[in-house]
Structures are given as structure tokens and as C-alpha cells.
Symmetry: C2
Subunit: 509 residues, 2 copies
């Protein structure tokens, strides 16, 4: 505080001094410099340890205590990016990144994002930038076609799609819509009786959305799954849980069915679940965050059979459709329910187009008022690669995962824990590779060995994988999905696993 | 549906075919092309009508029914952007854009955004990219210093800041935190009793947040303001409203005090309001979305005097701190309350750094799990311009608004409706410019004339302004704030207003 000189005695400042902050020629020059910086980053990306090795608090030691008073040249700033920021990155675009689910960058996605940033329009309603709204309408219908979503989710079928930043926003919005629709029937004093359903494998985003929208957190049901059903939500268990809630006088509200769980890409049986939900008047949201992208390939589309029974559907092109962060596609069958819960109509936004009801005002389909022109990057990706290439990109990743799976199966010390559906391989050092007599001891020890193995792999800097615990078993996840990954990276990653497995096992013998 | 050939008979696809989607040399080439496209757009931006002239549904007629099956060259796509997208844009970066509040682009903000897009990391927790979290911590402390926020909002003072996309997200998160803190005291069965306070000038985002978090919408208080207090929220009215709610057995929860209302940049008296709120244990959030940026200038800082009594504070650098969409800074005094409401701890995100409690995991400070590395663009802006230039940029805009205000005052047909605080001028054709005898008729007619004037200005394509209605009076808003605006644009905009004013008035005589 008080660290900057007090400059109120203004010399007359020419307004042209400000416009230099967006001078086209300066813009051109500096941007070409930064584009080259990023291209060089991709070229050298394999030189960096995938998982950052910095210690907590490292950056504070590298940067000054306060913002500079005077301007600094872009070359100085870029040097700091290289010296201080890059070492603190975990390199999601590295071909050796196999953690979480990938965030697939691409040249076309990048181009779309920079066009969006360049135009910098705020398309909260149609009139504030008609192209932003209309391109989003069109792209959502295009994608709906590619996924073979039923007509009822398309604008042309009285449904419609919207781009959010994340699945959590999509679930918050649909849950609020479902909540208000239900409360308008049973009275708002019954908010405390509403119940939300998922499985113990459903993404934590469902729990978070439940917390946010004011539903009693005690009424959040994470129904137990088992290995025998591939960790998918059982329709019978759902029926039992709903029945038990009804007996208690509670009101079943919302079910999140997952197309591909984060831990193991398990697939909840959508058709049967929708059948149960329909019987009890429960809103079904389908979360296909990662593998929704795979449904553009006819051979994977069957995984969402039954989607016509759902109320809403979302997936994230930023995960596996080569569109940079952030981008979540949400379709709803009945947009008016969403709009009814999320609309506000302040005077300052009043305009004839909105009054005519002939346009979509996306501010009423989402949490925020402001919104970026996200449709551009999706449009660029769809056009620049075309459906044929995008399908092949997905298949290449799946094939690479098959390669990795095959390598694991050839090594008797390892086992594949759950069947591979897409490009995620869940594996671990098998109990048989360890000597133990007591079964209880064994689970703990096997988990520990696998945990140590993962740490060793990640510490090597040569690959980054993450873990899950399903049915009490610790499992390593190799999630193939970085745009730059090639067959050779898969083979090398497996070699890294093998090398460290031997070292890890040795410490137990 | 079924519009694409079924290609399951895969030829062997080399994984290198996919990596071309992020080939550094191709990336470089295509990006330089698009950077030039954007630079040319800025160079030519004054040639376009500011408010788009397209009709609803225009784009559907220009684009194919479905996504292309085969790849299309970037040159073809860019031609379509120029021919079909640009005409559908309302040009927020035009120097003749005076609508809403601006969304200030800058070269440095753009550079930061493209670095973010290039790295494409997902920094939900510290380990997933330490630099993303740590730079955000640092930049938020830097900015907190620049705004002279009390130490209690800084990380170094046990508070802390986080970057959201929008004010609505910031308010949803703080309201959820306030809600849960209160319910933990009085029991969750009392959710229906909680009350939220703002004024009839508070941004609609408060009402929306209230709807989202499950607070009874009947318990949302938009306290009436009047011209006599400059449309600011009166502490006495707040006290009265709270007292009345307490008498009804309701529980006052949350107050949104606005530093600069959207309609007229009115300033709620923060110090007095915090005093009232403290007495009743109400959480105070300060929404300084637009004019928060001005507080980096010592001469404007007094407008948020009293902020030390608030619980949370937010403003949007994407509005007036030369940082592209989207960027909202939120500070809280007690991050643990936020984290307690918004945290989930799924196994797959477990890691030693989080377990150590020595790091910030921003996933627990926001709605979504995933998050972009937004701190980069703010850091680039602060460094590339420095505090001195940023202050001058703000002052240039304020000075230009003073120029416009001066021009309005010199024309007897017009009046300034409310005092100008920053760079927004609220004006209208004065009743005295119209002939009428009946007072009731007059208000309607004056509003109508001003509404017609605004339509005529915007239809000219030479300027884009929007309106507000305060105290029943229709007012034109000239919000100076585009980065490319110079003194000459202000003078020309005023000429456009004058020209159309005469034509509009003529139709009434």
C-alpha cells in the first residue's frame, strides 16, 4: 500500500497514448513474437519433465513484491515466462501426459480461440453480437447431428444446445431447472425433500452442484457400484434407493447418468436408468464429459443408446474433441424450463429482437450474464479437420490405448483391472507379483506398491499418470489423449512403467 | 442423422496423422495468418456499422446444414469469417462503441490469453500446474495492493483472491458460503427464511445468484432508490427493511453493495452500509464490476472507503483494466468459508501437495472443477503497461467522458440526468425541448422521443449507445471505454447525437 507515487497532477494526456495499447502494427509485431514462442514451446515440449518439479511457494521467490510502476518490454516478460512460468507448468500438451483426462489442444482450436479473443465481443443476448449466438445455435445442431442426438435435443426439434465452460456449470443449470420445475408443482417449502442420485463413481461435480443449488446435502445419493457390474450404476439399485426415499416422504428429483466415469470410464446403462427415472418423474442428465466425443464414431455411438429418454446431455470438446479449454456442450430437450429458472430481464438489456421472441438470448441458458464467443473455436475445429479426420483422431487414440493394454497383458507382473472402453487403461501390479500369505495384508500392500510405482513414474519426468481407487483397489490410469502422442510415446511410457516396477518390487523382496 | 458415411473399416492410421493437428510449423504458419487477419480487423474496424445490421436467422442461410465431412483449408474458413461472421458482430472494440460497459481489449491482454491457450493447462489444483495457481496468488496480491484493499483481503493477511469468469459466479460462490455459514448456526431447515438485499439499481446478477443458490425468491429485496440520493442504496432504508424482515421471523443473510450501478454508475455508501450489515450479521459483498478498475487511481480510491467492513469484493478487469473477456477478480476475507462450501475431494485428485495444506487448490474457490490459467493475461497487462500507464488509460477515458459531458451541457435541448462519476455520461433530450401541457403525457413523450433518438443513433452505424430507465425516466448512456476511442470519436459521436436529435424532434413538432 502506498507503494506507488501519487500522480494526480496530470499533464495533458493525449488519448492516442491509450490507443497504442491496441495499435494494429504493434499488435502484429508482438503477437508474431508470442506465436513463435508457443510454436517453439511445442517443438521442445518433450525436454521438460511432464509433472512440474517445483516446490510450493517457488514463484514468490522469483517475482517482485508488487506490480511494476513503469512499462516493461514484451521480450523481458517472455524471458520470465520461459524462466519462471514454464518450469512451474505441468505439461498437459506433452505427448507423455497420460494423467486425468487430456485437454486436447489443436491448431484449429487455437485459431478459433484467438479470433474470439481478437473480436472480444460479449454475446449475452442476440443483439450484443448476433453472429455469436447464431453460430452457437448452428454448431450445436451440427454437433448434435454428429453425435446422432435425437431431434428433440436440436433447435429444429424444439430443444437446443448451449456452450458452457464446464460440466459443473451445465449440471448446476439443469439441476436448478429441474428443482424449480418440481417446486412449482409441490411448493417451494419442500426444497428440503428433494433428492439427487448418482453412483459412487459419478464425478464430484454432481455433489458440488447439489451443494450449490441449495439441495439438502443429506439427500445426495452416491449409490454403491461393484466390480461385477463394471462399476456402473445398477438400475435395480436405483429403484431400491428411490423407493426407500419415497417411503421416507422424500421427493426424487435428479439423476446424473455417466457415460464414462472418471476413475475407469465405466458406462451407466442409460436406457434402463431412463426407464426407472421416467417412472418416478426424475430429471435425467447424461454426463459424457470425456467419451461423448467418441460418439461421433459410429462404432462407439451405441454407448449412449437410450439418450432419447434423458432430459439433458453434456460433453466436453476440451477433453477429447481438439478444442482448447474451456468448452462444454449442453443440450436440453426443453429450453423453456432452463430459461424460466435462469432468466432476468433488466431494463438496460431490453431490445426489439429479444422482445420479438425470435432469437435466443443465451444469458438465460447459463449462470453468468457475460459470455465469450466460444462457438468460433468449435466451428474452426469441425471445419478445419472435418468429421472424417476427427473420427480418425479418436480412433488413433483408442488404438494407442489398445497398444498399451496389449503391452500390460504381456507382462505377467501386471493386470488390467477393468475392461478398456475407450482410450483409458486401468492397470496395476498384480497381487501375484508380491509374496504374502495374509489376504488382508495383501490388499494394503498391493495398493502401497502401486502407489509407490506411480510416484516413481511421475518423479522420472518421462510420463505423468494419475490413479483411482475402485472397490478398494488402487489402480494406475494411463489416459491416452494428448494431441502430440504417437505410438512411440506409448511404447516408451510402458518402458518407464516396467523399469520402475522392477525397482519398486525389489524394495519389497 | 446418418448424414455421414460409415467408416468403420479402418485402414491402418499412423498416429503421426493426428499429431499434425498440432504440428509446430503448421501452427506457426496458420497462426501468423490469423494474427494478420485480426490486426487488419482492428485497422478497418471503423468501416463497419458498430451495431450489427443482420436480421435474426441470417447465418443459417449462409452456412451448410451440417459439419463438413472433409477438412477445409484455413483460407476458406477465414474468408467465411470475413464474409459471414464479421457482418454479424456488434463491434465491441470499435472506437465508436459506447454501449453497456466496454470490454477493453489490449495487445498485452491478447498476448496473455494466447499464452494461456497455447499452454492449455487445467489448473484445478496446485499440482496440476503449480505456476497457474501461484501466479494467480501473486497477481491477486499485486492487484489488491494497487486497489489499496485492506491487508485482510490479501493472502499475506489470511484472506485471498481468485479469478472467476464473471461477477455472477463470484456472487454465487460468496452467497453459497454465507448461506452455509448461516445455516450451520441456525439449521438447514431455515433455508427458506434467508433474505438477500440489494437496491433496485443492483445488477440483475444478484437476483440470478439468489435464484441459483436456492434462496426463496420472495426473500429477495430490491430496495427502492431515488434521484435525491443519486440512485444509491440508503442505509436507513436498509435498516428499515432488515427490521421489517426480522419482525416477520426472517433471517437477513447477504447484502450486495454496488460501487457503480450499471444504469448510472451510482455509488452505494459502503461505510454506512457495512455498519448496518455488521449490526445484523449480514455478509457484505461489494460489486465494483466496472469502476473497481478506477480505484488504481488515488483520486478515485475514496469511492470504496469502508471496504474493510465488507466480507468480499469483486471487480472485472475485462471491463476496464485492458484484459480481454473473461476475467473477474474476487477477494474474500475468510477463504475457509468459501472452501468449506465448495470443496469436494474425489480420490482421483488426491496428492501430497494438497494433503500438506501448504498450497491453494482453486477448484474449491469456484463453481467449476476445471479452470483456465487466467492469471497470465492479467500479469501481462500489469507488466506490459505498468501501474503508471494503466492509471493514465483510466484518466484518458474519464477525460473523454468529461468532454462529452461538456458538449451535452452546451446544447440547451439536452440535459445530464445524474452526475458523472467515471466515464459514463447519462443524458437525454430535455422536457423543455418538447411542447406539452400535460405533465403525465410529458414523461411518456419525453421517454418516447429519447427512445427514438437512441434507435436513430444506433441505426446510423456510426455509434452504439444503450439506455437505462431510472426513476421512470428513459436515459441514454454514453459509456466511454473502448481502447481505440480517441477525443475525435467523442466529438463525432456527439455530432451523430445532435444530427439525429434534430430529426427526431422535428417529427414531434
Amino acid at each position: 500500500m502506498g507503494s506507488f507515487p501519487f500522480h494526480q497532477d496530470l499533464q495533458e494526456i493525449a488519448s492516442s497514448q491509450l490507443t497504442k495499447a491496441l495499435d494494429p502494427e504493434e499488435f502484429r509485431k508482438q503477437d508474431h513474437m508470442v506465436i513463435d514462442f508457443i510454436a517453439d514451446y511445442y517443438q521442445n515440449i518433450e525436454k521438460y519433465p511432464v509433472l512440474s518439479r517445483v516446490e510450493p511457494g517457488y514463484l514468490k521467490k522469483c517475482l517482485p513484491e508488487s506490480a511494476p510502476y513503469d512499462a516493461e518490454p514484451i521480450s523481458t516478460i517472455l524471458k520470465d515466462v520461459q524462466d519462471h512460468i514454464v518450469p512451474g507448468l505441468t505439461h498437459w500438451q506433452s505427448p507423455n501426459f497420460f494423467a486425468y483426462f487430456s485437454s486436447t489442444a489443436s491448431t484449429a482450436g487455437f485459431l478459433g480461440e484467438i479470433l474470439t479473443t481478437g473480436f472480444n465481443v460479449v454475446g449475452f443476448n442476440w443483439v450484443s453480437s448476433p453472429a455469436a449466438t447464431e453460430l452457437e445455435n448452428i454448431v450445436m445442431d451440427w454437433l448434435g447431428d454428429m453425435l446422432q442426438l435425437p431431434k428433440s435435443f436440436h433447435f429444429s426439434g424444439n430443444g437446443g444446445g448451449v456452450l458452457h465452460g464446464s460440466t459443473c456449470e451445465a449440471i448446476v443449470c439443469t439441476m436448478v431447472a429441474a428443482r424449480d420445475q418440481m417446486l412449482s408443482r409441490i411448493g417451494s417449502e419442500n426444497l428440503g425433500k428433494l433428492v439427487v442420485y448418482g453412483s459412487d463413481q459419478t464425478h464430484s461435480t454432481l455433489q458440488k452442484a447439489t451443494q450449490i443449488v441449495g439441495i439438502n446435502t443429506e439427500n445426495f445419493r452416491a449409490i454403491k457400484t461393484t466390480k461385477s457390474t463394471g462399476f456402473a450404476l445398477s438400475p435395480e439399485m436405483l429403484t431400491l434407493t428411490i423407493s426407500s426415499d419415497l417411503e421416507k416422504g422424500l421427493v426424487p428429483l435428479f439423476l446424473c447418468a455417466t457415460m464414462d466415469t472418471t476413475a475407469t470410464t465405466a458406462i451407466d446403462p442409460l436406457e434402463a436408468l431412463c426407464h426407472v427415472a421416467k417412472e418416478y418423474g426424475v430429471w435425467v442428465h447424461v454426463d459424457a464429459a470425456y467419451a461423448g466425443s467418441a460418439c461421433i464414431c459410429p462404432e462407439f455411438r451405441h454407448f449412449i443408446n437410450g439418450v432419447e429418454g434423458a432430459n439433458s446431455f453434456s460433453f466436453n470438446p476440451h477433453k477429447w474433441l481438439f478444442t482448447g479449454m474451456d468448452c462444454c456442450c449442453l443440450w436440453v430437450k426443453n429450453p423453456s424450463v432452463l430459461v424460466s429458472s435462469l432468466s432476468t430481464n433488466p431494463e438496460f438489456l431490453g431490445n426489439k429482437a429479444s422482445d420479438s421472441k425470435q432469437v435466443v438470448d443465451y444469458k438465460d441458458w447459463q449462470i453468468a450474464l457475460s459470455r465469450r464467443f466460444r462457438a468460433l473455436k468449435l466451428w474452426l475445429v469441425l471445419r478445419s479437420y472435418g468429421v472424417a479426420n476427427l473420427r480418425n483422431f479418436i480412433r488413433i487414440h483408442v488404438n494407442m490405448a489398445k497398444t498399451f493394454e496389449g503391452l500390460v497383458r504381456m507382462d505377467k507382473r501386471f493386470e488390467i483391472l477393468v475392461p478398456r472402453n475407450f482410450s483409458l487403461v486401468c492397470f496395476r501390479i498384480s497381487p501375484s507379483a508380491l509374496i504374502s500369505s495374509n489376504e488382508d495384508d495383501e490388499i494394503g500392500m498391493v495398493n502401497e506398491v502401486n502407489c509407490k510405482l506411480l510416484e516413481a513414474i511421475n518423479a522420472s519426468g518421462k510420463a505423468y499418470m494419475t490413479h483411482a481407487v475402485v472397490g478398494g483397489l488402487y489402480v494406475l490410469r494411463c489416459a491416452v489423449g494428448a494431441t502430440l502422442s504417437e505410438e512411440k510415446h506409448i511404447v516408451e511410457a510402458w518402458k518407464v512403467v516396467q523399469d520402475h516396477a522392477q525397482a519398486t518390487l525389489n524394495t519389497y523382496w
